[in-house]
Symmetry: C3
Subunit: 154 residues, 3 copies
């Protein structure tokens, strides 16, 4: 099944692509790589307070996971806007995850699974990616999670 069909089957509607926060672009293609700028858990151009702040303090692991999934949905929205269709994706190569972390919080991997699981749901085996997940003390707009990506494209 194609990625676009799976997305429809999952009932996921990709949002209109959030504008970059500053003087850069959401995605750049170089050769058969597509590099997508880090995306936060924006919805309808705003950050829900439930997706703001530090995981391990204001946010539970599950709330962080939901934020990671939403950030990853925005990554897919940017990839589709750049490529015309997600069916042009051959493989999710790498995700980078930055988790806004309360002192002492070390379950970043669980949080980031919100993003990774989505990729596997949408792309199947081709959604299985390399990944780097770290904690950070602050993120732009007080995002709880930011996700960047590298795709192999046709």
């Amino acid at each position: 099944m194609s990625a676009e069909s799976r997305l429809a089957e999952l009932g996921i509607e990709l949002p209109s692509t959030p504008a970059p926060l500053a003087n850069y672009v959401p995605a750049v293609r170089v050769g058969n790589l597509l590099i997508v700028s880090s995306q936060g858990p924006l919805a309808n151009g705003a950050v829900d307070p439930a997706h703001r702040g530090k995981v391990g303090a204001e946010l539970s692991i599950d709330a962080g996971k939901a934020a990671a999934r939403l950030a990853a949905i925005n990554v897919l929205a940017q990839a589709r806007a750049a490529l015309g269709s997600l069916d042009a994706v051959r493989r999710v190569v790498r995700l980078g995850g930055f988790i806004n972390s309360a002192p002492g919080f070390s379950a970043q991997a669980n949080v980031m699974n919100g993003a990774s699981d989505l990729m596997v749901e949408v792309f199947g085996e081709n959604g299985r990616h390399a990944r780097t997940t770290v904690g950070v003390n602050e993120l732009p707009l007080d995002f709880s999670v930011a996700v960047e990506a590298m795709f192999e494209v046709a």
Copy 2:
């Protein structure tokens, strides 16, 4: 206009390339990608105290932005040293920005614009890049900002 001409027109003189802080090299070319190691706001081999410390505490947003611009100038110096000329750059593909952030500071995107704006000034449309910007609690040598880059090269 070529990137080298724009640089001259902007009156920017690239510094002698700062030596890596340790056992690595400033840039590696692989295929038509040039990967540049993260650079700090060094000038003449030293970090001005004005470019040290946390944005949102010791440094204002504008001071952070100046540090980001300086770090990006060092990125360009390393790219020129690796390539012979910035005119060999086809496209700025991606910048990664790490902002040494005071607790509660979330305007990292504004700070990183100091680097992004420079790329667009020097390379025009080809300077528009994908970008990931995050806050961190500490940086090497207490840099306020560190910037890494990926370029597409001829």
Copy 3:
């Protein structure tokens, strides 16, 4: 001398590859690049308490450097598992280092040399890489260090 021979000469035995902490894969090849997921200082599937916590507080610089070397050994183990042999590596292109940092600690570069030095020991000149090293406030499983890599492969 081949990388595998150097490794034997150095007396380094690569561990069985640690399983990813979550829903992702340890390495992905795209074209002639191999992207390796960030690795922590695991040994025999566990993190020694000596490799846990913040450098500059619980860990000295030397202890952090040992953890970085161990994380880099795990990177090599993943690369070998993906490629069949480290002799398929043409060049270490880039390392990313994330150092779990106590407040006020800014010697991340020294810590990360534990990883960089290993690459040069094993691959010689081809082990010299671009590098980005930053401090972070927290890491998965309270790792003191995490290391990710990009290799050029045959």
